[in-house]
Structure formats: structure tokens, C-alpha cells
């Protein structure tokens, strides 16, 4: 319903291959991400079923759809987001989250979620419609709905435990240091929390695992966050080639200007005029937007757009 088969297969196999070829460390963050892959597969497969017209004739407007969309929304949005919070919490706050509480929260949430939402597939197949608050006795939906209720309480306790973990760890979490996960990407080379400017120079990245280069020995090149281009003549940044990210051009950044704001206002009022059928307003805003665009693009010497 929500995605194409190719995307599911490509994404799931990419994740499995990442775990397979790596050396997984079973932290809370990993559990939440691995759990998400499983829930994604379940939610994706039930998506195929609702996308097949003959099956959907049976399934539409039943609890099967409720099960599917919660596997999609909670399984592939809430679980990885919580995994991401576990992963980057130390970078943001300087303190690690509690692992023991984290694992409890994961198993409560994971088991609670599946106990709560998986039976909804069966309820849907048994004909229970969605968007009802009660149903007649003796339809045979009672026992499964009791399991659903128990599961959802379990899930809620897990979520609560996660929030407790966040507040406790903010105050008493273990001090993280720069790179508590021994991770390879650039953000782990700064202090936790990072300085407001992140990096003093634009880092030069020589490989896909900049912090593991010494150990992987894949090539001679080394990344650096300490040395880089000065770019100190006004507001400048580096433009690089699209495939190899080699330095290609020094780009001048525009200064403060009203023209983008005027363009945005012109376009916003243009569409308001279109909604109200006020054609004169459309004309005025179109002309105003054109002039704002031309003013925005006007060649400027300070941006090296004209002459040397």
C-alpha cells in the first residue's frame, strides 16, 4: 500500500548485508534497529496484500488494515527513531543512556507491540471492521481483543520505561566521551556535546569510514578534521566534484538580502489569489515575484559573478 516491492527488497537486503558483513554489537540501539527491520518486513508484506485488488476486496475497512498501518507507522518510524535516540543521545547530551533499562524497554516494546498488533491481522480476516468502538457479543472477536489489550499495555509500559531512561540518563548517565560506540563516522570525532561550530574547518573525508582508517588499511589517504582550506575571504565554502568530491571551486555565499523573502511572499499571496479567484492579485504577485527573482539573481561583484 505504502511502497513498492523493489524498495522493500533493496532496503531489507541492504540492511541484512550491513549487519552480516559487519561485526554487530548488541546494544539497545542495535536491538531497536534490528527490530525495525523485522517489523518493516511484516508491515511491507501486509502492504502487498492490501495492494492486491482481489485480496483487498476482503481486507479493506477491516482490522487487517489497522494492523498493517501500525506495523508501518510504529514499526518503521517509532522503533528506528528510538534506536536513533539511543545512538545519538551521548553525542547530544554528553551522557550515555542506561543499557540495562534500554534492553528492558526494547523487549517490553517489541513483545508488547507484536502481542498488541499481530492479532489484529487475524481479527481483520475474521471480519472485524475498523473504526468501531464496540461490537456485539458472540462474534468470536473477544479473546483476541483481550490479547490485543494486554499487548498494548505491555507496549505502553515499555515506552514509559524509555522516557524514564531519558530523564534518568540526562542527570546520571555515564559520561560518554567523544566516541562511546567506537563508531566510524565524523560526528564521533568531536567532543560530546560538540562545539557550536561543529568543525573549525570543513573536514576532508578520504574514505567511507574516516575514524577507522588506521585499522582498516584500505588505502593510503587519511581523513582530517584539523586541516583544511582557510576560506577566510568573506563568506566562502567549498564546491566539490559530484562523484569524487575533489575540491572544484570556491563558492561565495550571498549575504543578507530581502529578495528571497519578497519572492516567497509574492508566491504565497499569488496562490492565495488563485484560491480566491482574484486575478488582478495574481497578476500583481506574478510581476512582484519576477522582479524579486531578477533582483536575487542580479550579478554582483562581491560574489565573483562578474569580472575576474
Amino acid at each position: 500500500m505504502l511502497k513498492t516491492p523493489a524498495f522493500i527488497f533493496a532496503a531489507v537486503f541492504a540492511w541484512i548485508a550491513t549487519i552480516w558483513t559487519g561485526r554487530p554489537v548488541f546494544t539497545s540501539a542495535f536491538l531497536f534497529f534490528a527490530g525495525f527491520v523485522l517489523l518493516f518486513v511484516i508491515g511491507g508484506v501486509s502492504g502487498f496484500m492490501t495492494a492486491a485488488v482481489p485480496v483487498d476486496l476482503q481486507l479493506t475497512h477491516t482490522y487487517f488494515v489497522v494492523a498493517h498501518l501500525h506495523y508501518v507507522l510504529i514499526g518503521i518510524n517509532v522503533f528506528p527513531v528510538i534506536g536513533g535516540i539511543f545512538y545519538w543521545f551521548p553525542k547530544v547530551t554528553g551522557r550515555l543512556m542506561n543499557e540495562k533499562l534500554g534492553k528492558w524497554a526494547f523487549w517490553l516494546m517489541f513483545i508488547g507491540f507484536n502481542v498488541g498488533f499481530f492479532p489484529m491481522h487475524i481479527l481483520g480476516l475474521a471480519g472485524m471492521p475498523r473504526r468501531i468502538y464496540t461490537y456485539a457479543d458472540g462474534l468470536g472477536w473477544g479473546p483476541l481483543n483481550l490479547i490485543v489489550t494486554l499487548g498494548s499495555y505491555l507496549f505502553a509500559i515499555g515506552v514509559l520505561l524509555f522516557f524514564v531512561n531519558v530523564f534518568v540518563s540526562l542527570k546520571r548517565g555515564k559520561v560518554a566521551g567523544n566516541n562511546p560506540w567506537d563508531a566510524a563516522s565524523l560526528e564521533w570525532s568531536t567532543s560530546s556535546p560538540p562545539p557550536v561550530y561543529n568543525f573549525a574547518v570543513i573536514p576532508t573525508v578520504a574514505s567511507r569510514y574516516p575514524l577507522w582508517e588506521g585499522r582498516l588499511k584500505e588505502g593510503e589517504d587519511r581523513s582530517s578534521t584539523q586541516e583544511g582550506f582557510l576560506l577566510d575571504k568573506g563568506r566562502e565554502t567549498m564546491g566539490t566534484t559530484s562523484l569524487d568530491a575533489e575540491p572544484d571551486v570556491i563558492l561565495k555565499m550571498p549575504g543578507d538580502t530581502y529578495s528571497p523573502l519578497l519572492l516567497a511572499l509574492g508566491l504565497a499571496v499569488f496562490f492565495v489569489g488563485a484560491l480566491l479567484h482574484w486575478w488582478w492579485l495574481l497578476g500583481v504577485c506574478l510581476v512582484a515575484s519576477l522582479f524579486a527573482s531578477i533582483a536575487w539573481l542580479w550579478p554582483q561583484r562581491s560574489l565573483s559573478q562578474i569580472e575576474t
Binding site: T204, A206, S224, E236, D248, V249, L251, P299, Q305, E307
Partner: protein
């Protein structure tokens, strides 16, 4: 790492030729607009392949205005190419003449197209062919209008002496869009005027 920083110490600064951000921006605009026209032309061929009875329903489209229109637009691309070549060799006057000629040829195209629209026996709502015809040629016409606006602004900037052989990426970006409009027209022309004559 340091080797990268030192050995390439003479990087161009700012909007220089094809290093300019606007150049890449225009390429992405062309990619999205080309996709739009690909969809539109696909819908023409799709509906043509499913048509019952005669296609095109009003007989073969006349070429008496379409061929001059095509010649005018292709000529406008050539004059623009010639003008850009001029600024590459530091001749702003040649660029100005090229821009002026392309502007006039673009306006001529719009006049020819308007006369063809007026002469058509059908209206926008007459049927599926007419709505395809007016939608696709209309979208192309809108792009020609934007192109003319771009060329006019470039004309003003050239008279203000903003461009020389070293710095004229605004010109290259505008010219790229102008060539794109010509190429789209060739696809539209083939679809509406040539393809029905081949079957």
C-alpha cells in the same frame, strides 16, 4: 589530505563557467522539465494508440505554420550559440546581437503559434486530441515565454557591461535553457506533425 589542499591551490572563485552552482541548478531544472514533457508526450502516444477511429480526429495537422515555427526556433538557438561564442572571445557586442536576434526569433515563434491556435477548428474542450494539443503546445509556449524573459534580462545585463570572456556564467545558464526549449519543441513537432504522417 594536505596534498589535496596544496596541489590544487588555484581553484576558481565564485560563478565561473560550469563550476557555478546556477549551472547545476539549471541542469536539474532541465531534468525535471524534460520529465514533465516526457509524461505529456507519453500520454499523447498512449491515447493515440488506444484511439478508436481516425487519429488525429481532425485530419493531419497542417504544416504551413509549424514548419516556419520550427525553423525560427532552431535559428534562434543558432543565433544564441553564436552570441555566446562572442562573449567567450570577449565580444559583448556579438553577444548583444545574438541575444537580440534570438529574442526576435522567439517572438516570431509565439506569433506563428498564436496564429496556428487561432486557425484550429477545435477548442481546448473539443475532445482528447484538442486537449492534448493545447496542453502540450501551451506548456511549451509557457517555457518559450520564460526563455524570452531570461534572454531579456541577459540583454539588459549585457548592455550594463556585466559580462566578459572570463565571467559570463549567467549567459551560459540562460543559453542552456534556450537550447532546451528548442530541443523540446523538436520532440513536440515530431509528435504532433511528423508521427501521424509515418503510420
Amino acid at each position: 589530505m594536505v596534498e589535496v589542499g596544496v596541489s590544487r591551490s588555484t581553484l576558481p572563485v565564485g560563478s565561473k563557467a560550469h563550476h557555478a552552482s546556477g549551472w547545476w541548478g539549471m541542469l536539474t531544472v532541465i531534468a525535471t522539465e524534460a520529465t514533465l514533457f516526457a509524461y505529456l508526450l507519453f500520454s499523447y502516444f498512449y491515447i493515440a494508440s488506444h484511439a478508436i477511429g481516425e487519429w488525429p480526429p481532425h485530419g493531419l495537422p497542417k504544416l504551413n505554420l509549424a514548419i516556419p515555427g520550427t525553423i525560427v526556433l532552431v535559428a534562434g538557438s543558432f543565433t544564441m550559440w553564436w552570441g555566446e561564442r562572442g562573449i567567450n572571445r570577449n565580444r559583448p557586442i556579438q553577444l548583444l546581437i545574438g541575444l537580440g536576434a534570438s529574442l526576435l526569433l522567439g517572438i516570431a515563434f509565439i506569433v506563428l503559434e498564436a496564429r496556428e491556435w487561432a486557425a484550429e477548428p477545435f477548442h481546448l474542450t473539443s475532445g482528447v486530441y484538442s486537449s492534448l494539443y493545447f496542453t502540450i503546445t501551451g506548456f511549451h509556449l509557457a517555457h518559450v515565454l520564460v526563455g524570452l524573459l531570461v534572454l531579456s534580462v541577459l540583454f539588459i545585463w549585457t548592455t550594463l557591461d556585466y559580462f566578459d570572456a572570463n565571467r559570463h556564467s549567467a549567459v551560459s545558464i540562460g543559453v542552456l535553457y534556450w537550447h532546451f526549449i528548442t530541443i523540446v519543441w523538436l520532440a513536440v513537432f515530431f509528435t504532433f506533425y511528423i508521427a501521424p504522417r509515418l503510420g
